[in-house]
């Protein structure tokens, strides 16, 4: 698969959707009665969290594919997905802390189950890269990373369930869980922001896949032109290696 095709169109679509979504969030969506302007961070924080979690699960699905087919391209897909989700996850925790400070007066609150679960998931996935890095054999590294990705992917819903059970609902939730949900004028900006964030994730994923594939091809070509000795071996890395064909 060529990851470089239509990257420009995808980038433009991402830019337009995300900018449009944020513009609507700022100028069209109503001000929140309690939280005022600070509530606008909701349009960044929640889509980012949803996309990051979907990315983790996608990484797990690709890992299943990797174990089934033993094709290292699936390992690369899983690796890039998890690695981007981790970056988004850091953003989720940061925006979550800012939101908590603004609306509840503390940088961190333990009685918001979604945020706490997210922290646990983030801490778990933070060991993904060190784990890969400490296994030298490439085939084993890929296999173990896939086992980790599947375990962690299955852990995500279980963890959310357990943390939610453990905590009382003391704070009002933006998504009313029993009735209604979002008001109509907040729905459109929210879903547009969600789509924009998802597109951003896909775009970044495609860029990184393209980059990884291109450098693997470049190495293969160099080796072909200058001989095997001219190209230094890849060295120890957490990133998966592709078969150079």
């Amino acid at each position: 698969m060529l990851y470089g095709t239509r990257l420009r169109a995808l980038s433009i679509a991402t830019f337009v959707t995300l900018t449009g979504g944020l513009a609507l969030a700022f100028f069209y969506a109503p001000m929140d009665a309690d939280q005022g302007f600070m509530q606008k961070i909701f349009y960044v924080h929640v889509p980012m969290a949803i996309v990051a979690l979907c990315g983790f699960v996608f990484g797990g699905v690709m890992a299943i594919q990797h174990l089934r087919t033993r094709d290292s391209r699936y390992d690369l897909r899983s690796y890039v997905a998890i690695h981007l989700s981790l970056i988004l996850g850091a953003g989720v925790l940061l925006t979550g802390a800012i939101w908590a400070k603004a609306s509840w007066g503390h940088w961190w609150v333990w009685d918001e189950p979604t945020l706490v679960s997210f922290l646990i998931v983030f801490l778990l996935y933070a060991t993904y890269q060190p784990m890969r890095f400490s296994i030298e054999d490439r085939e084993k590294q890929a296999r173990y990373a896939s086992v980790f990705a599947i375990t962690a992917g299955a852990f995500v819903p279980l963890n959310f369930l357990a943390v939610r059970l453990a905590q009382a609902y003391t704070h009002p939730r933006v998504f009313a869980t029993t009735d209604g949900g979002l008001p109509a004028r907040m729905q459109l900006p929210f879903y547009l922001c969600l789509a924009g964030m998802a597109l951003l994730y896909v775009t970044l994923w495609r860029y990184e896949m393209t980059s990884k594939h291109t450098s693997a091809q470049l190495r293969a070509l160099r080796r072909k032109l200058a001989g095997d000795d001219a190209v230094a071996p890849a060295g120890r890395t957490a990133a998966p290696s592709l078969p150079t064909t």
Binding site: T127, S134, K140, V147, F148, T151, F155, L158, A162, V163
Partner: protein, 252 residues
Amino acid sequence: MSAPTSTPPAGGRDAVAEGAASPRLVPMRAAVRALLRKELGLELRAPQAVPAMALFSVTTLVVFHFALQRGEVAGDLGAGVLWVTLLFAAMLGISRLFVADHEEGGLDGFLLAPTDRTAMLVAKALALFAFLAVVEVVAVPAFALLLLGPAPDAGAYAQLAALLALADAGIALVGTLVGAMAVQTRARDLLVPLMALPLLIPVVIGAAKGSTPLLSDAGARAVEVRWLLVLGLYDLVFGLLAYALFDYLIED
């Protein structure tokens, strides 16, 4: 028969695994029994993990006494002290679980044997469960003696034992998976707690919430059933996950 196999259908491994009728295949129960006997025999002849875990848990209780600066704990604080102690002691056992096999070639020997690899998972998880149970026989009375304020009756201890059994099953399953993963890495002892602790947070939630009423100052109350269900669900999910994934961890 093992979890989803992915090697080519004509592969030697599948040919062996499929032949349940084949006389050469060691039946699962015999393999588990042999492996478990090896684990327990090793620990009995040269005790290593269990004494270390037991000593560690008692020392941790002493550390808690000074760190919390109190002579008695009860209720949620008591449950927290107990579960942190047991969980951290379990980390020691998990990091040691596969080390001897890895260093002395026990894994290679097992891979050569004509048997299902799930036998290794079952035997290791049972061994870890047994180690944890022995450690708790020391650590829980030590906790009751040294730190626990209220004196729960026998009924409360029976309920605590049920919670411990469910939690130990979860720790044993996750620990076997994480231990098998970590033993192949360079940073073995660093990675075990980093991977296992976040994975075990649901166990801590269920166990700590469940045992809080048992250790309450105002007399023990019954465990809420939902915490037993949370622990049971966790054991089920990780049991299935470990069963499906363990084969990939001991392939070579």
